[in-house]
Amino acid sequence: MAERVFHKSILRNEDPQILAGKAQYLDDIELPGMLYAAFKRSDYAHARLKSIDVSEAKALPGVIGVYTAEDFGDLVKPGPLQVPPPTAIKGATYASRTIMPIVKDKVRYSGEPVAVVIAESRYIAEDACDYIYPDFEPLDAVIDLEKALEPGAVLVHEDLPSNEAAHVIQERGNYAEAAAKADLIVKKKIYVDRVAAVALENRGIVVNWDDKAQMMTIWCSTQSPVTLRNATATRMGLFENQVRVITPFTGGGFGPKINTSMPDDVLLTELAVRLKRPIKWYEDRRENFMATTSERDQVHYAEIAVTKAGEILGFKDVFYHNSGAYDSYMMTVPLNTQTHTVSNYKIPSFYTEIIMVFTNEMVVTPVRGAGRPQGVFVMERMIDAAARELKMDVAEIRRINLIQPDAYPVSTGIIGQDFVEGVLDSGDYPTALNKVMEMIDYKNFREVIQPKARAEGRHLGLGICTFTEGTGVGPYEGAKITVGGNGKVSVATGVSSQGQAHYTTFAQIAAEQLGVEVKDVKVTTGDTGAFAWGAGTFASRGATVAGTAIHLAAVKVKDKALKLASQFLNTPESELELVGGFVQVADLPDKKISLGDLASKANPMRGTFPPGAEPGLEAVAYYGPPYGATGAGCMAMILDVDAQTMKPKIERLVMVHDVGTPINPMVVEGQVHGGIQMGIGNAFYEKIHYDETGQLLTASFMDYLFPQATDMPSHIEMDHIENPSPLNPLGIKGVGEAGAIPTPAVFNQALEDALYDTGVELMESNLSPSKVYTYVQKAKGA
């Protein structure tokens, strides 16, 4: 039997190349005759563009061209929706106002481009931006989510009756009846603020138009190469196969790189054709903060209805969701908030209402977590508020309300981002909670450690929360697997990679079936020249959806190999196996043929070819799940807080997680570690600030605080439980966002617990020591 390579911590295929500095990232691409782009961006968040003078900029030596809306004609129109509208939800209303490639009449967010410069270097392109003079008529900015909807409010889109972008109500059971039966109803207002994805590599694109071949090649650090190719071809009147999108090594994605039909790809593809020279744009960090999408800001009005014993009868949540200036990405984020608010608790009645609002801020699209952290934050904070009123233990109130392991599949009654009713496919939430409580020694902490610390005047606090992570949603992904004459295996899939170890985990899936070494599987992701169907890398779906397609394709290739080898080895297929790059007779391992030889024989150059046969040891397969696989977990944290400065130190952080069957446990742990870093950042460091005029105040790492090594706990204690998903043959669930989801909720709970003697309640995420100090002063009545 071949050694198993699936479900095993195998070192990464891609590492030697990256470590040696030999991996090609976007800005490493240099083409002969290349030009460089820079965007002149509006400093105003909301203003009419009356005119723009580019004459001085055009005259600078080295400037090839300066282009404004009037140079782009029909191209200046709203782009396509990236995600369909929520028509599957009864009664949903929405207004779609998608991103414009360049400002024609009105600026709607600070950073929106009003001109693009093409020059011989980025230095010169930036010089030219300094000599472009737009004449703006400033307008009041729409910033506050609730004031935005008041009568008479300034409108972001003046053709709409209000700033309401969408309104969606979903309900299961009947909240009003549940509330009537409850012993206690707790109501709170809860804020979550905006954060940036902060991939270390900024966005970027290189476009080359080969006029003789009539072929466009686009290198782009995109999470959605097929969408980029298709949108470009459609817009430019080309066939899809005239456009090839290649995703080079990409320095992190975390959400925003999913967007296509953005100003950069729309304008630069057009200019590359006009100028017949390759063009590069590599975003700088300031642009990334200003004009790359971001996420999280919501204001929630939540109510929890409980019995005296702590049983949750109902939950109501009405929330305002900031869409930013446009809503090309429609409702993915707030729908995720809805599905993740109650997902792991058995709450009979749940009312949830989204009011999505246009503002003069950057467009909101998913950032690692994508609406889920907000839902979990609201639910977990409300459970804590109820526990406080009921004087119940925070772990106990969770334990008694968790969905039990015999309940799956659980229909949630709430339609999610994939437009089907959310169903929890599998899991074991109580075991996760119990394990975390054991690992953090919960009882001992409450009974011995914490009382002793308090007696000594120390402020130790513990937080413990549970969560789910909806992952692996449709529509589908595909893969093509080919065995080469060299006996090695090539795997191509439409999703692109931003560091998730696909070159290894996808190789493991293929190698498991084909009996080859993992290092002998070459994985190509995100190159439409290699595979051109698929949706993209988002919603923790790469491993689950593309991974399953790879498995299915590998099984097909294996079948082909066995069938063909059976002829050459004169042995029935059932007696053959794939081991070490050979097909061999199970009982007579010397009787074998190499996969390379088989691949050559499968492509006969002369002679007969049986009717109905397909050449090559090659197969394509697709996989689309009926609904997503749901991961879950539990996290606990102990904080030691300096009650004078309000600076917390994370003493311990424990996480138990269920990803179904992990392809590569080492990679899974790495994903969770990274998610937790973002979660800690979101809880206490990171925050995008806009002032009341819509000016971005956090356009550098001096102001936007990125979590550093010393901000993290010294060790993340982790354990896994494996409840394989029944939705796919490998039992996989996604994990990309897990760490980011519960962390802010756990952090706030621990902080409140640490500052027990102040009675402070922290119903806001993205805190700072100063903010905590202000809340404490308020709680003390000072």
Binding site: Y123, D127, M702, L705, Y773
Partner: protein, 291 residues
């Protein structure tokens, strides 16, 4: 984020540099370590039309003992050279302690002692340290020089007494009295980041452990580093009791600093932190001086 163009001068001697500065007048700017200037230029918030790069002027990088027992530090001496100088560490441990809070080692490898002083960032450590140690600044121009006390050198945020044709050439740190010790305390959002409030204290005790001299400097809570007058008034000649220190801390926070509200903290919080930090740094400095 590429800097705007500028004229570039790379003198090899101090004399040449002074000539460049004289020739350029208001259009010239000194490039020392560049660790603050170049980021500002990359953002195009700073757009000097000409830079006089001192990195090739070897004669401006040195640490020399002075006859009085202090140190003379050449303006181009890198932060980490000062930080790791064995003799300064032994005689004035507060210097290394303070410099250790400047950003990260990679920045301290390029940033210069004189450059930071002349930049006069209200949130920077070196101007506060110079004020704490009562440093003397040697200011040169072509054909002449003058001495300026640290307390008089900085006149506002990013503003010093330097004229365009002048160069801060050397900083002299006078020797410390016996039984003197310092303590640095700050609150910053992150390690290596800007302080929301910071205090450095330097306490000298007599042989009966009464305070002979005390200097307590606050920074990042006003337009320039601030030397507390009240600390000396209350503590000199007395025992530095817990109560006395608490009194100083409360008074200083209330009356001697002027923090503003910014993205990361309210004025109230920062003022409160001054009280906490003054208390902690004075307490630690006294304890260290007693050893």
């Amino acid at each position: 984020m590429k800097p705007a163009p500028f004229e570039y001068y790379a003198p090899k001697t101090a004399e040449e540099a002074l000539q460049n500065l004289t020739d350029l007048g208001y259009s010239g700017k000194v490039l020392a370590g560049g660790q603050s200037l170049i980021p500002a230029m990359n953002f195009r918030m700073a757009r000097p039309s000409a830079l006089v790069d001192l990195n090739k002027v070897a004669e401006l990088a040195y640490i020399k003992p002075t006859a009085e027992g202090g140190f003379a530090i050449g303006t181009m001496t890198r932060d980490n050279v000062v930080e790791h100088d064995a003799s300064i560490r032994q005689k004035m441990p507060i210097v290394a302690e303070t410099i250790g809070y400047i950003a990260h080692p990679q920045i301290r490898a390029r940033g210069t002692f004189g450059g930071a002083e002349a930049h006069a960032d209200p949130a920077a450590q070196i101007p506060a340290l110079c004020m704490l140690l009562n440093a003397k600044m040697l200011v040169k121009r072509k054909g002449s020089e003058r001495w300026v006390n640290a307390e008089d050198f900085i006149v506002g945020p990013f503003m010093t007494v330097l004229e365009p044709e002048e160069l801060l050439a050397e900083v002299v740190l006078p020797p410390l009295a016996p039984r003197t010790a310092g303590s640095y305390k700050q609150v910053s959002r992150q390690r290596g980041g800007y302080a929301q409030a910071a205090t450095i204290s330097l306490v000298s005790l007599d042989d009966r452990n009464k305070v002979k001299d005390v200097r307590c400097v606050l920074f990042s809570v006003g337009e320039t580093p601030i030397l507390s007058k009240y600390a000396a008034k209350v503590l000199v000649g007395n025992d530095a009791t817990t109560e006395a220190i608490a009194d100083v801390a409360a008074y200083v926070a209330k009356n001697e600093c002027d923090p503003g509200t910014d993205l990361h903290g309210t004025a109230e919080y920062r003022r409160q932190m001054v009280e906490v930090l003054v208390g902690r740094s004075l307490t630690e400095a006294v304890a260290r001086a007693k050893k």
